[in-house]
Symmetry: C2
C-alpha cells in the first residue's frame, strides 16, 4: 500500500521557495471522530497547518487545533442528489457570482474539492478555475475587482503522479499542481488577462504592489486528494493502493478553511490593518458524487463530513425521476442533522422545481438554473450570463442563512436565560456569558458555539456523558437516528397494555438475554430511572407482603398491615434513585431532600453506612465507616484494607475473610436494632446502586459488602432491587453489575444508556416470582402503574440498536471475549493521578473515571472544582462537577486512546492548578 | 376536470359479457388515510370489488372492506432508486422465476402497476406480459405448468382513450385493454402457444375443461391507472385534467390484492375443493419512478403506499453514483417504516454491490443481475436465462422473508405473555388469543395482525389515542419521523442545565407563545406527566412557603414549618395526576392508591366533590354532589341545572348567577372547616385537571366551579396548578383550557399530545413569580429535580413540529379563525347517543367523545363495557374502557367525517347491545 504522495511540480517548488506554502510534517494527530481502520493513517502534509495545540483532548485535536469552525463567513458544502447533476456548474456559478458582486469589498473565496477521482483528466477545481476566470473576463457589464485566481492540488495517488509526470501518456492531459491567473478588474480601462501564464516571483511582486485602495479579490481552487481512476473514491483508493482515514480528510478541510479564515488565501497579499474587515470571505466545499457516495475510506460522505456539519446546498435533479432523487438525497442529509439551505436544479422542462418548491415550502428555497446547452464546448459563458440572476439570488440566500444562523446562536444564551428553567441550577449563578450553546453532537463530542472572533464552533468531549446517558460513536449515532426514524415512521407510538409490537418485544428479549441472564423473566417498561425505581419498589413490597402474611400475623389483612406497620427499604447512605417522591423516599436525607426541596419527603428507609474502595497513591484500598467497626475486631479490618489490584476487590475469595464477617455482623446488628427499636416499620425491600454511588459522588462501594447485604436479605426473604440505571449497559464495563457482585437481584432497573443516549426509556426487570405476586382474579391485584408512552417504539427501537451494537464484537471493538469492555483508562495515568497531591481518591471502572479533589469543603455544595472544570472546558472537555469530585465518562465504544488523551489533559490541568 | 374513465374495448366488453369481471359502481367510500383535497374523488370502477361492509368505521373503510392485507402469500412492492434503473426487468424476471419454478404446484401471480404514465406507448404491464410469456416459451429445460397470462388496464385518462381509439394516430401503438395468452406447459409434448389470440368464450371454455390433475398457473398483469404523457404521474394527472385521490389508489390496489387472494385471478378457473391450498400466490406491485416520485395526487409514492406497508424490493443502481442513490432511496423507505427485504442491482462493472452488501450487512441482502445488452430488441430472453439463478435466489429470499414475518407475528402473542409485564393489566385476564399484535401505525390507525385465514393485517382506529397521546394524520406522521430523525442525527441528546440548544429553546418559545400566552414565563422540561406534576407541586409549595412566612409566624423558619405544619394540596375527588408517589399524593384515594398498590400513599390533600356537566337526552345539564348543596338554596341550584347549549356551560355570564354563589360558599366553607379542623396541615397549592377528569372517567367538571376554586385560591395567595396533560394541546379543542375556564394558572403541566404522539416529553410552565421563589445565593435554593433526558432533542424537536403543525391553519384544516378546532363530533349523532337507553351520560369536547353506560356496577372495576368494546374492535375501532365509560378520542387533525363514522358505528353497536 502507498500513502498518498504529494504532487510536486516545478511551479509548486517555486511557490514553496518563496514561502507561499508552509509545508511541515507534523505528528500524526489522534484519530478524529473515530472511524476504525486496521491501518494507521499516514502522516499528512498540509498547507498552512499549525502544530496542534498540546492543550487539547482526545478526538477533538483536529477541530480545536484548527480553531474550530469559523461562522463569521458563509462556508457551504455542495452536495449532489446524484453524480452528474451539475454540482460543479453550481460551484462555479456561485463562486463567479460572489467575485463579481461589486467592487465595494474585496473577496476571498476558497473553492475546495476534498476528494477528486478521475484526476487529472477530471478536475472540478480546474473547471471552476477556468470557468470563473472566463466568466469574469466576459463580465463586461459589472464592475469587478482585480482577482487573483489560483489552482492547487495538495495530494494525489501514485497513479496520478505517474500520469502527470509521463507527459506523453496517450491522450492524457498533463496538469501542473499550481496554476495562477491574475484578472485585472474594472478599475483599469481594459481587462488585463494573464491567462495560462506561470507567475514568477517578480511578476507576483509586481501585482502585490497595488495600492491599498485597489481592492484585490482572491479565489483559490484547491483539490485536497486526487485519484486517477474515474470511479467512486473508495474504489479508486482501493485500486490505487492508498489509505486515507476520515480524520485526514476532515483535518485537511479544516486546515484549508482556516487558511481562508486567516484572510491569506494565497498568503501573498496580507491585507493592511483596518482593511481586514472589509474582505468578504466564502468557502465552497464540493463533495464527490451523491450525498451517500462513499469517501476514500468507505465511509459515506454524508457521515464523513458530519463532524463539520457545514450548512448545505443540494444540487437536485431536474430530469425525470429527479424529484425522487432530490427528496431522497435531502432526507439522507436531514437524517444526519445537516441543514440544507438551498436546493438548486437544472431546468429539464419537467417543472420539477414547482413540485419541490411546494414540498419544501417553509423549509428550503428552490432555485432553477436554465438548461445547459448540449454542446458545452464554447457556450458555457452564455449559460453563466443567463444564470447570473439565479446565482445572485442564491448567493444572497446563503449569505442571509449564514447570518441568521449566527444571529440565532448569538441570541440563544440571553433567550435561554429569559425563558428556560434548568434543573439543578441556581440561575443567579449562571451569567449569560456562561451559558453553553450546543449546536450539535457528533459521537462523543458537542459542537459548542463560542461568540468570539465573529463566532465559531468548537468541539467539547462530553465527559459528563450528558448525565451518564451517552454511548454513541460516529458509527452508532447515525444508526440510532435511522432506528429512531424507522420506528417513528412505522409506529409513532402505539398502545402497549395487552398489546405487543416488535420493538417492545425485541427489546424485552434482549434485556432478558443480556442483563436478565440467569435470573430475569419479565420486563416492565417506563420512562426514566425514577419511575423504574418506583415500579421496582411497588413490585418488591407486594412480593414482601405476599410472602410475609404469616410473619406479620396470620390474620393480618393488608389493611391491618397498613394500620399497624409501614414498609421501609433497606438502603445505603449516599445511594440515589431518582427525583420523584417515591424514589426519593428510598434514599437517605441529603441536600436533595430538604423541606424546601421536597416538603413531602420523610426518608422511608433503614439507611446504612457502607465501606468504600478507591485508588490512592497508586494503591486500591478500603475505607471503612466508624459505625461498621464498632464492636468489631479492628485488626481483621486492617488486614483487609489494601488490595493488590482492582480485580482483587471484586474477587469472591473475599467472602471468606475476617472482613466479610465484620460486614455480615454489622448488617445483622443493624437489622436487629431496627426490628427491636419500637419503630413499627418493616424492611420490605433492599435497594442498592451496585458498585458505584453515582450522584452520591462516584463512590465505589465495597462489592463484598453489597453481596453480603443481598445474602442477608435473601435469608430474610426480603426482595432485592439493583438500581443499575447508572451502572448497567456496560457503563461499568459489564452489561450488568451482577457480574461484579457475583449475585443476582429479584428486580433491576435500567435507563440512561439503555437507548444509547437518545430518548428516555426505562425498564424494570423482575423474576417470575415477583410477577406472580400480582396475579389474581381482580384487576385491582395488577400493578396499576403506567405512563402514557410505556414501551414507546422509538425508545425500544433505539434500545434494541444500542444493545445489539454494544454486545457485538464486530461493532464494539472494546469488547473482550468474556463480553466485558477492555480497560479504557490507562492504568499508569490513573495511578499517576491517584498520586497527585491535589487528589484525595480515584475510581476508575468501565467507562467511568472519577477523582475527588483535596478540599476542605466537600460534598454536593462544594465549589472548589470550579476552576478545574473551567480549565478542562477550555481544553475541549465538557465536565460537570459533583461537589469536589471531577469525573470523566466516556462511552462503551470510546477508544482507549481517547480516554488516555482525556487523562493526560486532566493530569496537566491538575499540575497547573497546584 | 375529467375523472379517470374506464377503457372499454371490444375485448373488455366481451370479457365482461361472460361474467369474468364483476363491474359495479359503488358508493364512494369515505376518505381513506386522509390526503386532503378540495375535490371530491370520483366514483371508482373496479374489478372484483365487493360492496364495503357497513360495519366499519371512518378511514378504515377501504382496508376493512378488502378484508385487510393477506399475509399468507408474498406481496411485495418494487421500488426504484431512480427512474430507469430496471424495476420492470426485475418484476418480469421475478414473475418469470415464480411461474417456472416447478410443476408441483400451480401458481397465481398478480403483477400490478398502479400508476402508469406514457401509456399506451409505455406499459410496464405489457412488458411483463410479453417478456414473461416469451421467457416461459423459451424455457425448454424446466418443466412448467400450463399458464394463463392476461393483461388488463382498469382506468385511463381521456388522453389515453383518445390515443387508443384513434388507431391511425401517427406512430402510436394501439393497445386493447385486455390481452390473453395461454401457454401450454411441459405436460404436453409441444408448447402450445396461443400468442396474440383474442380468446372467445368458446376457446376459454375449452381450456377450462382441463382435468384437475393438470395444474394451471395464472398471471395477471394489471395496470390500474394510466396517463398518456410520459411524465411524473402528478404532472400527467394535472395536464390531462384528471383527479385521483390517494384513497382511490389504495382502494384499487386492495381490490386487486383481494382478487389475487381469492385465488380467482382471472375468475374463470376456480380451483376445485382440496386443491386450493396447493396454489402458490404472489403479488408484485411496481411503483412508478423513484421512491419519492409523486403519485397522481402529488403525494410522494412512499407516503401514498404507506397504509399498506407492503414489504419492499428496492431496485438499486449499479452505475456511477448508484451507491448513493440506492442508499438514499433505502433510507427514504426506511424512514417511513418500510421493510426492504432485498436490494437488486444491474451490474455496471463498478462493483457497487460489493459496497452495498457490506453496508447493508445484517439488514438486507443484495442481488446483482448481469448487465442488460445495449440492443434490447431481441436479446432479452438470453438475459433472462442468464439472470435465472439470481431471480431464483431472490424469489427464495422473498418467500422466506414473508414466512419469517408471518411466523414472528404468530409467535408474538405467546412471547409477549411470557416475558412482558403490562401496566394496568391483570395478566390472568388476558388469554394469549386476546393479545393485540400491532404491526404498525398509519395516522390514526393501527395495523393489527389477525391470525386467521393464514394471517392478515387489519386497520383499527386508535380511539384510545394510545393513552391520549396521539395526534398525527398521514401527513404529520412522516413529518414527525423526519423531525425525530434530524434531531437524533444532529444532537442525539445533549446535556441541558446551563446549556441551550435549538430544539429546547424553540420548544420553550412555542409553549410560551401558545399555552403560556398571557401568563407563562418559564419552561421546565421533564419526561412525563407524572414528573411534570411533581415538579409543579415543588414549585407551588416553594412559592407558598416563601409567600406565607409571615402568615405562618414571622419567626418561623422552614424547619419550624416542617415540624409544625405539613403542606397539602387542594384538589378534586376524581382528579388524577400520574402514578409516581408525589403525583399520587395529590389525588384522592382511589383503586390506584390502595396499600397493596402504593404502600406509601397517604393522600396529602383536601379533596372536594365537584359538580359535573354532561349531555343526557339531548340536553346539557348539571349534576351536583349532595355535599355541595348542604346549607344552600336548592332552588338556585335547580334554576341553573339545564343549559341551552354546551357553549352556555363555558360562558362567564354564569359567574353572576345564584349557582356561582352556592359554589363559592361551598369552597369557602370547606377551606374554613379544614383550617379549623385541628389538622396541622396547610393548603399550599391548588391542583386541578381543567374541565375534564380523564382517568377519573371522562367527567366534565363544571368550569364555573373550577374558576371559583381558582379565584378563591388567588384570594388566599395559594398557587394554582393546571394539570393540562390530558387537556392541553388542542385535546379539548383549545390549545389551553385557560380559554375555557377564562382564568390563568400560576403553573401548568403539558405532556402526552405535546410531541404529537411520538416520544415522552413533559413541560411545566410557570410564571416569573414562581421562578423567583427559587432564586438565591445557594445552589440548594434551586429546584433540585431533574431527569437524565431533560429537554432531550428528539422530544423537543417533535414537539416543535407538532405545535407548529397544529397551530397552522394551512396544515390543520380543523382550525377555525379563533385558533380553536371546529366541532368534530356531529351534534345530531352526539345527541342521539345521549338519548340512547343504554347511555347514562355523554361528554363531547374537542377530540374527546365519551359516554357512560347504564350499569349497576360502575367505576374503575366495571367490566360491563367489555362486550361493547369487543364489538367496536371487530368493527375496526380500538377502544379501551374506563370502567363503564366508553370513549372515542381522535386527533386534532382528524376529519369530522371520520368522527361521524366512529359515532355511527358506536350508535349501531349500542343498538345491537340492547
Amino acid at each position: 500500500m502507498y500513502q498518498l504522495a504529494t504532487l510536486i511540480s516545478r511551479s509548486f517548488s517555486e511557490y514553496h521557495r518563496v514561502g507561499i506554502v508552509a509545508r511541515r510534517f507534523r505528528r500524526c494527530p489522534r484519530r478524529l471522530f473515530s472511524h476504525r481502520s486496521s491501518t494507521a493513517f499516514p502522516a499528512v502534509e498540509e498547507c498552512g497547518t499549525e502544530e496542534p495545540s498540546e492543550r487539547v483532548a482526545g478526538d477533538n485535536v483536529g477541530l480545536l487545533a484548527a480553531g474550530g469552525i469559523d461562522l463569521s463567513y458563509p462556508a457551504y458544502t455542495i452536495w449532489g442528489s446524484n453524480t452528474g447533476v451539475g454540482k460543479t456548474l453550481l460551484s462555479a456559478g456561485l463562486v463567479g457570482s460572489i467575485l463579481s458582486s461589486g467592487i465595494e469589498r474585496s473577496r476571498d473565496v476558497l473553492y475546495l474539492k476534498p476528494v477528486q477521482t478521475g484526476f487529472p483528466k477530471d478536475s472540478d477545481a480546474r473547471f471552476v478555475y477556468r470557468e470563473v476566470s472566463s466568466m469574469l473576463r466576459s463580465n463586461s457589464n459589472g464592475l469587478v475587482n482585480n482577482v487573483y485566481i489560483s489552482k492547487q492540488t495538495v495530494k494525489a495517488s501514485p497513479a496520478v503522479h505517474k500520469a502527470v509526470r509521463s507527459k506523453d501518456a496517450a491522450g492524457m492531459e498533463v496538469i501542473g499542481t499550481y496554476e495562477e491567473l491574475i484578472l485585472e478588474g474594472s478599475r483599469r480601462p481594459n481587462f488585463f488577462i494573464n491567462s495560462d501564464e506561470r507567475l514568477t516571483a517578480s511578476s507576483r511582486e509586481r501585482h502585490q504592489g497595488g495600492s491599498a485602495s485597489e481592492r484585490i479579490s482572491q479565489l483559490m481552487c484547491r483539490t485536497l486528494l486526487a485519484w486517477f481512476d474515474p470511479v467512486s473514491p473508495h474504489y479508486a483508493a482501493e485500486m490505487e493502493g492508498t489509505v486515507v482515514e476520515d480524520s485526514d480528510v476532515i483535518q485537511s478541510i479544516l486546515s484549508s478553511l482556516k487558511t481562508c479564515t486567516r484572510n491569506n488565501l494565497l498568503q501573498r497579499s496580507p491585507l493592511k490593518a483596518g482593511e481586514q474587515n472589509e474582505s468578504e470571505k466564502w468557502a465552497i466545499v464540493e463533495t464527490a458524487g451523491g450525498v451517500a457516495s462513499p469517501g476514500p475510506s468507505g465511509t459515506l460522505q454524508c457521515d464523513l463530513y458530519r463532524p463539520l456539519r457545514l450548512p448545505c446546498v443540494l444540487m437536485g435533479d431536474g430530469r425525470l425521476g429527479g424529484i425522487s432523487s432530490t427528496i431522497s438525497a435531502y432526507e439522507t442529509l436531514h437524517l444526519r442533522g445537516y441543514d440544507v439551505e438551498a436546493v438548486v436544479l437544472l431546468d429539464a422542462g419537467l417543472a420539477n422545481e414547482m413540485f419541490l418548491e411546494k414540498y419544501l415550502q417553509g423549509r428550503t428555497p428552490v432555485f432553477v438554473l436554465p438548461p445547459v446547452p448540449e454542446d458545452t464546448s464554447e457556450s458555457l459563458s452564455n449559460w453563466f450570463i443567463q444564470s447570473q440572476h439565479c446565482f445572485s439570488r442564491l448567493r444572497c440566500t446563503l449569505e442571509e442563512a449564514n447570518m441568521r444562523r449566527l444571529q440565532r446562536l448569538q441570541e440563544m444564551p440571553s433567550k435561554a436565560e429569559q425563558i428556560l428553567w434548568w434543573p439543578f441550577t441556581q440561575h443567579t449563578m449562571v451569567p449569560t456569558g456562561d451559558v453553553t450553546v450546543i449546536d450539535s453532537r457528533c459521537a462523543e463530542n458537542f459542537s459548542v458555539f463560542k461568540n468570539t472572533d465573529g463566532g465559531k464552533l468548537e468541539p467539547q468531549f462530553d465527559a459528563c456523558a450528558s448525565w451518564w446517558t451517552q454511548g454513541p460513536d460516529s458509527r452508532l449515532q447515525p444508526e440510532l437516528a435511522k432506528a429512531a426514524g424507522y420506528a417513528a415512521g412505522r409506529y409513532g407510538h402505539v398502545m402497549f397494555p395487552e398489546n405487543v409490537h416488535e420493538p417492545a418485544l425485541r427489546c424485552a428479549e434482549l434485556l432478558l438475554e443480556l442483563m436478565g441472564k440467569g435470573w430475569g423473566n419479565r420486563v416492565y417498561f417506563s420512562d426514566n430511572g425514577s419511575t423504574a425505581v418506583e415500579i421496582a419498589l411497588k413490585m418488591a413490597f407486594r412480593k414482601f407482603v405476599t410472602d410475609h402474611k404469616t410473619f406479620l400475623g396470620s390474620a393480618a389483612t393488608s389493611s391491618d398491615l397498613e394500620s399497624q406497620r409501614s414498609l421501609k427499604v433497606l438502603a445505603l447512605n449516599g445511594s440515589y434513585h431518582g427525583d420523584t417522591l417515591g424514589a426519593m423516599e428510598a434514599q437517605a436525607p441529603s441536600p436533595y431532600t430538604g423541606f424546601l426541596q421536597q416538603p413531602w419527603y420523610s426518608g422511608r428507609g433503614l439507611f446504612l453506612d457502607s465501606p468504600k474502595v478507591y485508588l490512592r497513591n497508586g494503591q486500591w484500598q478500603l475505607q471503612c465507616p466508624h459505625s461498621l467497626l464498632r464492636d468489631s475486631c479492628t485488626e481483621a479490618y486492617d488486614a483487609d484494607t489494601m488490595f493488590e489490584s482492582r480485580a482483587d476487590v471484586f474477587s469472591s475469595v473475599r467472602d471468606h475473610t475476617p472482613w466479610a464477617d465484620i460486614c455480615r455482623a454489622y448488617v445483622r446488628r443493624q437489622l436487629q436494632v431496627h426490628e427491636t427499636s419500637g419503630d413499627r416499620s418493616v424492611i420490605g425491600a433492599l435497594i442498592i446502586e451496585p458498585v458505584i454511588h453515582g450522584a452520591g459522588g462516584m463512590d465505589m462501594v465495597d462489592p463484598l459488602f453489597q453481596r453480603i447485604l443481598v445474602s442477608e436479605c435473601r435469608l430474610r426473604n426480603i426482595p432485592v432491587i439493583f438500581d443499575e440505571i447508572l451502572a448497567g449497559c456496560w457503563r461499568l464495563g459489564v452489561k450488568s453489575t451482577s457480574e461484579l457482585l457475583h449475585c443476582y437481584p429479584d428486580i433491576a432497573c435500567y435507563s440512561k444508556l439503555l437507548t444509547g443516549g437518545t430518548v428516555p426509556l426505562a425498564a424494570t426487570i423482575a423474576t417470575e416470582e415477583i410477577f406472580e405476586a400480582f396475579k389474581g382474579q381482580s384487576k385491582l391485584d395488577a400493578l396499576l402503574h403506567g405512563h402514557s408512552y410505556t414501551a414507546h417504539a422509538m425508545g425500544c427501537a433505539t434500545a434494541v440498536a444500542t444493545l445489539q451494537h454494544f454486545s457485538d464484537p464486530v461493532k464494539n471493538s472494546n469488547l473482550t471475549t468474556d463480553g466485558r469492555l477492555q480497560e479504557l483508562w490507562c492504568p499508569e495515568l490513573v495511578s499517576a493521578i491517584s498520586c497527585h497531591t491535589s487528589v484525595r481518591r480515584v475510581v476508575s471502572l468501565g467507562t467511568l473515571f472519577a477523582c475527588e479533589l483535596e478540599d476542605k469543603e466537600s460534598g454536593y455544595t462544594s465549589t472548589s472544582t470550579k476552576g478545574l472544570i473551567q480549565m478542562l472546558r477550555a481544553d475541549g472537555i465538557y465536565t460537570r462537577p459533583l461537589g469536589n469530585v471531577v469525573y470523566l465518562m466516556c462511552g462503551p465504544l470510546t477508544s482507549p486512546a481517547s480516554c488516555t488523551s482525556l487523562l493526560e489533559v486532566l493530569l496537566r490541568n491538575l499540575d497547573q492548578m497546584v
